[in-house]
C-alpha cells in the first residue's frame, strides 16, 4: 500500500508542468499592439503591465537603477537608438539570452534589448535592422504559449548571469574570467553551486581531497531567492516584523494574498533592507549547535557566521584592477587575481590554491560589531581635478588605441620583450617614463591635475558557505599571535603601478597599509587584548619572565651562599 502511494506521489510530481502556473502571454510593443503584427520591439512594461502593476514595481525596484545604470555605462560612447526598458524577462524567462541582450545594448540598439533576451525561445531572429519576430511561434490568437517562455520566479542561474558563478549540479564549474557579469565571483570568489570542488573544471591544488561542495546551501537546494527575497512575498516573508512599531511581534498574520503579491511584487532586494535579506540567524540558531564551543554567546557576538563557515575561497578573486591601462579596445582594465598561481585567462590548467579571506570588523544590523570575511581589491585609477574625477574611457582609448590596435608609442613604451605584442603583465605604469607619458597624453586631451591613485576596498565574502568538518573548528585558527583575526592580506607591489595607495572610508579605521619587502599589505587593527593567545600582552610577559628570572637568580645565589657557608662550618673554617 505504501509502495503504491509513493508510486502515485512520484508519478504526480513527474506530470506537474515544469513551466509553473503562468498563463500564455500576448507580447506587446510600446504602443500596446501585438509585436508579431507590428514587428516592433517588445515592451516588457506594456506586456507584463497587462496583469502586473508596473508602476509599483518600478517604484520598488533597486535592480532597475543598477541594470539601467550598467547599460548606460556600457554604451556611453556609442550611438543610441530607442530607450532601454526595465527588462522583466531577464530574470523571469526560463532561458534569457543575456549575451544577445548585451550585444544589442553595446550596439546601441537599446529599444531591441528586451527582444534580444528572447533569442533562445525561437520567437525572434536577428535581422539587418535589429530583430525579426517569427510569427509561426505565436498562437492563432497572437499569444505565446507558456511553455515557450517558461515564466516564473528567478532561479539561481538568473542571479548568476549578472552577479557571479551559479552552476547547476550537472554542469562543471569552469574558469571563465572574461565572460561578462562575473562581479560577485570576481570580487569575492563566490561560486554558488552544489557541485563538489573535486569535480569542477579547475586545477585545484589537492582537488582529490576536496569533497566539499562550493556552497552547502546550493547543495541542499536552497537557492538565491531563499535568502534574497522580495520583502512582500507572502510565501517567503520574514515572520518577525522589524519596524519599531511592531518589533514585539513574533509573527504578523497580516500580509498580502498571493494574488495581491503577484499584482504588486516588491523588487527591493537591497542588502541594506533587513526585510529583503534572510540572514544566517533567520534560519539557524547557532546557540542550539556548536556544543564544543566555549563561551558561545561571546564568540557569536564577535564573529559573523561566515567567519568560520567560509574559511577559504577556492575560486580566484580580484586583487587589483588597474584602470590606468587598457588591455583591449573594449576598455578592459588590467586585472590581477589572488588564489591562482598563473594567469587563468591564458591557461585553464593554472593551479588554483584559493585564498583565505581577511577578517575585518563591521557593524551588523543588530548594532554589534563582528568580524566578517573579506577580499581586498585595489583599484588603480587616475584622479583629476579638471574635470573632477576619473578621465573618461574614451580618453583612455585615445591614449592607448588607434582603432582596435595599440598605438605605436604604446608598443614602444610597454613592449619589454620586443615581440611586437603587449601582454597583460607588460601593461602597467611601473616606471616614471610610462606614467608620465600616459599622464601627458591624458592632459593633452584636456584632463588637468591628474594623480595616480590606488583605492583599497573590502568586498564581503558571503557565499561559498560550508559546514561540518570543513568549517573552522580549531581554536588555534584565531587564538594565536598570527591568528586569523590579525592576519594581513597582500594588496599589491608598491611600484606597480607608481601611485598613491589609500584606503576607502570603511577600511581606514579598520587597519593600515604596511610595506614589507616591496609589497603593500593591509594589516587589520589588533583586536581586544582580552582575546586569548593573540600576543597583545607580550610586553607584560617580558616583564614577567624578567621577574621570574630575577627570582631564580636570587634563589640560586642565596642557596649557593647557604651551601658554601654550610660547607665552611662543617670544615670548621
Amino acid at each position: 500500500m505504501k509502495f503504491l502511494f509513493l508510486l502515485a506521489l512520484t508519478w504526480g510530481l513527474e506530470v506537474l508542468p515544469s513551466q509553473g502556473l503562468h498563463p500564455a502571454v500576448r507580447l506587446l510593443d510600446a504602443a500596446g499592439v501585438a509585436v508579431h503584427v507590428t514587428g516592433e520591439p517588445l515592451s516588457p512594461e506594456r506586456t507584463c503591465g497587462t496583469c502586473h502593476d508596473v508602476v509599483f514595481i518600478k517604484a520598488h525596484n533597486n535592480h532597475k537603477r543598477l541594470v539601467l545604470g550598467w547599460a548606460d555605462a556600457r554604451n556611453a560612447v556609442l550611438t543610441r537608438s530607442g530607450e532601454l526598458e526595465l527588462d522583466c524577462l531577464l530574470c523571469h524567462l526560463q532561458a534569457p539570452d543575456v549575451f544577445s541582450r548585451a550585444d544589442t545594448i553595446e550596439a546601441g540598439q537599446l529599444g531591441w534589448a528586451a527582444t534580444a533576451t528572447l533569442a533562445h525561445t525561437g520567437l525572434v531572429e536577428r535581422s539587418l535592422v535589429g530583430w525579426a519576430w517569427k510569427g509561426n511561434r505565436f498562437s492563432p490568437s497572437g499569444e505565446v504559449p507558456a511553455e515557450i517562455l517558461g515564466l516564473g520566479p528567478p532561479r539561481d542561474g538568473h542571479c548568476g548571469a549578472c552577479h557571479g558563478r551559479t552552476v547547476h549540479a550537472k554542469e562543471e564549474v569552469r574558469p571563465h574570467f572574461d565572460r561578462p557579469g562575473d562581479t560577485l565571483s570576481a570580487a569575492s570568489g563566490a561560486v554558488f553551486s552544489g557541485q563538489q570542488l573535486r569535480h569542477g573544471g579547475y586545477n585545484l591544488v589537492g582537488r582529490e581531497t576536496l569533497t566539499r561542495p562550493w556552497d552547502v546551501h546550493a547543495e541542499r537546494q536552497v537557492g538565491c531567492v531563499a535568502c534574497h527575497l522580495s520583502p512582500n512575498n507572502p510565501a517567503r516573508r520574514l515572520t518577525k516584523r522589524t519596524g519599531e512599531d511592531a518589533n514585539h511581534l513574533l509573527f504578523d498574520p497580516r500580509g498580502l494574498t498571493p494574488g495581491q503579491y503577484l499584482l504588486r511584487p516588491s523588487h527591493e532586494f537591497s542588502l541594506e533592507n533587513p526585510r529583503s535579506l534572510r540572514r544566517c540567524q533567520d534560519c539557524h540558531d547557532p546557540m542550539l549547535r556548536h556544543s564544543w564551543l566555549p563561551y558561545k554567546a561571546l564568540h557569536f557576538s564577535k564573529l559573523a557566521c561566515e567567519t568560520c563557515h567560509i574559511p577559504k575561497s577556492y575560486h580566484p578573486a580580484r586583487s587589483e584592477v588597474d584602470r590606468t591601462v587598457l588591455t583591449n579596445h573594449f576598455g578592459s582594465p588590467r586585472v590581477e587575481l589572488r588564489g591562482v598561481q598563473w594567469d587563468l585567462r591564458r591557461s585553464a590548467v593554472s593551479p588554483v590554491e584559493g585564498f583565505e579571506p581577511i577578517l575585518i570588523e563591521r557593524a551588523d544590523p543588530d548594532g554589534q560589531h563582528r568580524l566578517h570575511p573579506n577580499n581586498l581589491v585595489t583599484t588603480w585609477h587616475w584622479e583629476g581635478s579638471q574635470p573632477a574625477g576619473e578621465p573618461s574611457l574614451d580618453d583612455l582609448r585615445k591614449v592607448y588605441f588607434d582603432g582596435q590596435d595599440f598605438r605605436r608609442q604604446v608598443l614602444d613604451l610597454f613592449d619589454r620583450q620586443g615581440d611586437g605584442t603587449l601582454r597583460v603583465e607588460e601593461l602597467t605604469l611601473d616606471t616614471d617614463q610610462r606614467r608620465d607619458w600616459v599622464q601627458g597624453e591624458l592632459e593633452g586631451l584636456g584632463n588637468r591635475g591628474l594623480q595616480l591613485v590606488g583605492t583599497v576596498e573590502a568586498r564581503h565574502v558571503s557565499h561559498g558557505v560550508i559546514g561540518g568538518s570543513w568549517a573552522l573548528r580549531s581554536c588555534l585558527e584565531c587564538h594565536t599571535e598570527n591568528g586569523r583575526p590579525g592576519r594581513a592580506m597582500r594588496l599589491t607591489h608598491v611600484s606597480s603601478p607608481l601611485g598613491r595607495l589609500e584606503l576607502t572610508n570603511g577600511l581606514r579605521e579598520k587597519g593600515e597599509i604596511v610595506i614589507s619587502e616591496g609589497e603593500a599589505w593591509f594589516e587589520p587593527r589588533r583586536l581586544s587584548p582580552a582575546m586569548l593567545g593573540n600576543g597583545a600582552w607580550a610586553w607584560l610577559d617580558r616583564y614577567g619572565v624578567g621577574l621570574l628570572g630575577f627570582a631564580l637568580a636570587a634563589v640560586a645565589m642565596h642557596g649557593g651562599l647557604r651551601w658554601t657557608g654550610h660547607r665552611r662550618r662543617r670544615k670548621g673554617l
Binding site: 581554536c475 594565536t480 587584548p529 621577574l547 647557604r562 662550618r569
Partner: protein, 224 residues
C-alpha cells in the same frame, strides 16, 4: 614521636596541599591558554573549561579556609601586631635572611603552635591574601561573567583588556611567589624539615627553637 608537637592540624595540611594542587593546575592551564601553541589545539580546548573549574574550586577552598581561620581563631597568626614592635622584628628577620642564615646564626623567632609566622611571613601573607588572591579571584570572575555575556556592557575604564592584563600580571606574581615559597621550605634545619612538617603536621620542639626554624616557608605552607 613523643618528643614532637603538633604544628598543623589535619585540616590545615589537607587545605594546604589541596590549594597548592589547584594553584599548580591553574598556572598550567592558564599558561596553555596564554600560549595556545605550546601544547596544541586540543590542550587549549580542554584548558579553557578546566581553568574555569579549577578557579571556582580555588575560590570555594579559599572561603572554607577563611571560615576555618575565623572560627578556630587561627587568624591571629596573620596579625602584624603593634607597628613599633613589628618593624624591629621584621628588620631582625630580614637581617637573618641576608646574613645570619649563611653563618648558621640562630633564628630570631621561635615557631610554636601559638605563633607560627615570623614577621616577614605575616607581611607576605597580608599581601597575598588581601591583594593578590582577591585580584586574581576578582578579575577571574569578572572575565567569566563578561565572556558568559552576563555583563554585556562594561564601563569604558574596565574593559576586558584591563581585566585580562591584571589577571596575567597577578599570575606572574603568583608564579614568582610559588618559586620563592618552594625555595624557602628548604631553609629549615634540614632541607626537607619544613616539608616533612607540612606532611605529618608535627615538628620536634628543639627544631622549632631559635635558630632552627621560623622561616617564611613554614608559615607559607599554612596558607590562608
Amino acid at each position: 614521636m613523643n618528643d614532637t608537637r603538633q604544628i598543623y592540624t589535619a585540616y590545615e595540611r589537607f587545605w594546604h596541599w589541596f590549594q597548592a594542587t589547584i594553584i599548580g593546575f591553574l598556572l598550567f592551564t592558564g599558561g596553555v591558554m596564554h600560549w595556545p601553541t605550546l601544547l596544541g589545539d586540543r590542550a587549549f580546548e580542554v584548558s579553557v573549561p578546566l581553568h574555569k573549574t579549577f578557579g571556582l574550586i580555588l575560590i570555594a577552598n579559599a572561603l572554607f579556609g577563611l571560615l576555618h581561620h575565623l572560627v578556630s581563631g587561627a587568624i591571629r597568626h596573620y596579625l602584624l601586631g603593634p607597628p613599633a614592635d613589628y618593624f624591629s622584628q621584621a628588620v631582625a628577620q630580614a637581617r637573618y635572611y641576608v646574613s645570619g642564615i649563611f653563618r648558621g646564626a640562630p633564628h630570631p623567632f621561635e615557631r610554636n603552635p601559638q605563633a607560627r609566622l615570623n614577621p616577614l611571613q605575616k607581611l607576605t601573607y597580608l599581601i597575598i591574601l588581601n591583594v593578590l588572591l582577591p585580584l586574581q579571584i576578582g578579575t577571574g570572575i569578572a572575565m567569566m561573567l563578561v565572556q558568559g555575556r552576563s555583563w554585556a556592557d562594561l564601563p569604558d575604564w574596565l574593559d576586558r583588556g584591563i581585566l585580562t592584563g591584571a589577571h596575567l600580571f597577578g599570575s606572574w606574581l603568583f608564579l614568582v611567589f610559588v618559586l620563592l615559597h618552594v625555595y624557602l621550605t628548604t631553609t629549615g634545619e634540614t632541607v626537607f624539615g619544613h616539608l616533612r612538617a607540612m606532611l605529618t603536621g608535627r615538628e620536634h620542639p628543639s627544631r622549632t627553637g631559635v635558630g632552627a626554624t621560623g622561616t617564611v616557608s613554614t608559615i607559607t605552607e599554612e596558607g590562608p
